[in-house]
Symmetry: C2
Subunit: 228 residues, 2 copies
DNA sequence: TCATGTGCACTAGTATACAAGTACGTCAGG
DNA sequence: CCTGACGTACTTGTATACTAGTGCACATGA
């Protein structure tokens, strides 16, 4: 226990504000293009402008918010290139990670993954999308952990703003959940068998699934998109 | 020209403070483990605490600074795992990018790269390490640009704090520059020939070179390192 | 001598006050 | 009716004041 180990507790007002705003943006409760007034948000959340400003600055790094000096802060519009960038980053990081995971996976790591998959099947049966999203995220985190580079997951998650929005905006039907679980099972199987090439292939296909729903959403919400 | 296009000008005090502090940390002018007082930095730079706080928050995301509430902010120590994480991220992103670049490179892109290489050789002859570092960075950026995902370079650069420090701490001799230029030439050649596999292999080897100097630096500056 | 408590000087977190800049409506004049 | 200048109401950027928590030194008592 040194003085650095306490450095990321995350119980501050600023962290809370960041989490709330990020969730609101990703679920499009704060829709793309919307103006965010620091004053308004501060009042709404019952805090001062300072933590709000900090949260907006972090969201800017996530590319979820654009801050124009002396003019305003805005939820970024969805753009094809933005989504493709996020997909690229996620693919690069997680594919590299899953290769390592397939080589290094431990017994307890596999057990953890199996438990996660079981819970995913439960969530699928009960159509509990919220739980499923959480389990999905956890699965990817475990894989990065097992690869020895959890940082890959953290970065992947952060670069992921546009992807998350697209995913959350597309109304997931039951076939979506079924498909996802099935893909998760295949790629976990490849990891369990210690086959990096197949694991990478499966993951790549899995990650590209989200991309396909972009156009579908653009049709439904053209006002959320940047014309390019 | 819409209202989003003005969002990243970067002429603010906060951005300036961030750039200054990052440079100071990367060059170890602010050495690993050193405590950074917001008040002290603010006074030193002739600004208030507000922009300093913002800069420190960003540096925390870069893992160059650890902020401990009610205790202080510190330049992070160098750790093997931190360096390996950074190397992993950079490898994953830039290798994925160079594969695309090898497939998509344009005529003008190649010309730009050749000009960069020529400048590198000049810098090598004149032992102008500072210019060389800049050209090195630019080369990697151009490659990511040509891949259509400049975001990869931006992320790679940010995740790169620990690597940069290690690189800047190791006194580069002329053989180092010679080696680097030679490696750059090989990987550019692979890109020019449109050979993604070879380009990736060359880049991977190139990026791992930095890693080898970690132990050398640890011997010289054990106090900069985290005991693990 | 050693252990313990207490105060002080420091820290970051937050709230507020002020400065600088932008957009837009309004009103006067051609 | 159209055009242009001005004022107002907003925005973010920065500086400062205040709050709460930490560690450390020093005094005090056993």
């Amino acid at each position: 226990m040194n003085r650095f180990s306490r450095s990321s507790i995350g119980g501050n007002t600023g962290d809370r504000v960041y989490a709330i705003l990020r969730e609101a943006i990703v679920t499009a409760e704060l829709e793309p293009g919307r103006q965010l007034s620091e004053n308004e948000l501060a009042e709404l959340l019952g805090v001062s402008r300072t933590p709000v400003r900090g949260a907006l600055a972090r969201l800017r790094e996530d590319r979820l918010v654009a801050i124009v000096p002396q003019l305003g802060s805005f939820v970024t519009l969805i753009s094809r290139s933005g989504v493709e960038d996020a997909a690229f980053v996620r693919e690069a990081l997680e594919c590299a990670a899953i290769r390592l995971a397939a080589e290094r996976i431990t017994e307890s790591g596999l057990e953890e993954i199996q438990a996660n998959l079981a819970a995913q099947e439960r969530a699928e049966r009960e159509l509990d999308v919220e739980s499923f999203d959480l389990l999905d995220e956890t699965l990817h985190r475990i894989i990065c952990q097992q690869a020895g580079h959890e940082v890959a997951w953290a970065l992947s998650r952060r670069a992921n703003g546009h992807l998350d929005r697209v995913r959350r905006l597309s109304l997931p039907d039951s076939s979506y959940l079924t498909e996802m679980v099935s893909e998760h099972k295949s790629l976990v199987a490849a990891v369990a068998e210690g086959d990096p090439d197949r694991a990478e292939t499966e993951l790549r296909r899995h990650l590209r699934m989200v991309l396909s729903s972009v156009d579908q959403i653009r049709v439904r919400h053209p006002e959320y998109f940047e014309d390019e």
